[in-house]
């Protein structure tokens, strides 16, 4: 049991969609990730890289709310932690659209929540954003 817990805690984990930017710091304290902050015109991008090589970019509005996340790497990030309270909505939508086609992108387009997963074995890419919390000048193409 102790070993199992240790394994879970060493997995890459990141801050949470829809929460305050301070959660980025909280997560960084216990995961093995490096972070850099890239200020953009209307938002701040926090970039984290896990030991397993997964890069997560978190987009924070001027008010400090994370309105989008993007990821890229050899495996998927911990989507449960990354999407926070939106994970169950994403998961149930993903299960509902199960269809044959093992490597098709997985696209969830709900009012307010968009999640897009693409890529292939050894190289995954994706983004999630809260469409009604995006700063008006920001295009969804910038989330990557």
């Amino acid at each position: 049991m102790i070993a199992a817990l240790a394994a879970v805690c060493s997995l890459p984990g990141f801050a949470v969609l829809g929460e305050d930017v301070s959660s980025v710091q909280t997560d960084r304290a216990y995961i093995n990730a490096t972070m850099r902050v890239m200020p953009a015109q209307n938002y701040t991008v926090h970039e984290l890289r896990s030991a397993a090589g997964v890069v997560v970019r978190e987009y924070a509005s001027a008010s400090g709310r994370i309105f989008a996340v993007a990821w890229q790497g050899p495996t998927l990030p911990d989507m449960k932690q990354l999407l926070g309270s939106y994970f169950e909505e994403f998961q149930s939508a993903a299960q509902a659209q199960t269809r044959p086609g093992g490597h098709s992108p997985l696209i969830v387009q709900h009012p307010g929540l968009v999640v897009e997963l693409g890529g292939h074995m050894r190289s995954f890419v994706g983004r999630a954003y809260l469409s009604d919390q995006m700063p008006s000048e920001v295009s969804n193409e910038e989330i990557r």
Binding site: A52, D78, K80, A94, P100
Partner: protein, 398 residues
Amino acid sequence: MKFWAIMALCLTAVSLACGGGGSHKSSMLPIAASSSNVQPIVVNSGPAGNYANGLFTSVTLCVPATSNCQTIDGILVDTGSFGLRILSSAGGGALNLSLPQQKASNGNVGECALFVSGYTWGSVNTADVMIAGEEASNVPVQVIDPTFATVPSACKSAGVPENDSLQALGANGILGIGPFAADCGGACAQTGSSNPGMYYGCAGSACQIAAVPVPQQVQNPVALFPSDNNGVIIQLPALTASAAILNGSMIFGIGTQSNNSLGQAKVFPVNSSGEFTTTFKGQTYPAFVDSGSNALFFLNTNTTGMSTCSNSSGFYCPSSTQNLSAVTSSGSPSQTINFSIANAETLFSNRGDFVFENLGGPNPGTFDWGLPFFFGRSVFTAIEARSTPAGTGPFWAY
């Protein structure tokens, strides 16, 4: 799944979808004659009867060094993954052999293999694998089995569906013949937080992440053939609009025999992520060639101007067929690819058709040249570190 089942009779859609499509492709390629390195492949509805643009073949597995063998058809041919995965009878598949279990220091080896739209969970076992006249011995394969141990929480927290049943997978297995020899590589052989957590050691039903040496990871069987082991060619004839079925050939080896030379094919080296690039409307994106993707998946509505379908956000539904063009490249070699995207709902209304030339859908910031790209081409996939007459893999050529 229901989405696939809805295919109302609408023959007029064939001519609609045809407008502008197909003209860029030459007539049928000569299909390679039967030989010890040639395996028949087919695009059809697959073993679940509802797969659109699924490319299938059969594979023979044997308990190693015995004549206890089983031939299983309905195996998805996939240049976008690496390694052979077979659906167990517990998952509704055909496999009834008892294959030796791979062991790690902390128990039986299990694997959570992530695909974009789902994961496969099960044990890692060894088998002799025969395809056409080729045979690879003691190949680590994944036996997809939802009843093997308990699916680890880290596997479930990816949020993507579990593809451990015939209905979810739409196939009796996946033959991953992409440009790498193992499904994970060096990262999964490491201990600690740099291990991406694909392999597990399972004692009873409890599994913990395990470091598994590369040769014991699930292997691309082509890389383990005694000869013709540097890559594979997928050869499918051209198609106009749609069809019920399309037959082709999978040829093993590149430049190793008289039937698998590169000829005039252009070579596109692949990076360490298994990708090259594609330029569309002046912007360059990461790209890959994937026979296991059932459409051309690229970018989004903002960039392409095509809306997604009202009953499936996974496909494009333009009001009229769009004739498009993009440039695939890998450094200096480049090639323009013309393609067309039709309304997916109109295509699926052709009851009885399961092969679609002009099927497309969105993909975040990426170009996935899925199965329609293979129609009318010979597509070569060279395996990493293997030499060919056109240099060392990994590369694609076409």
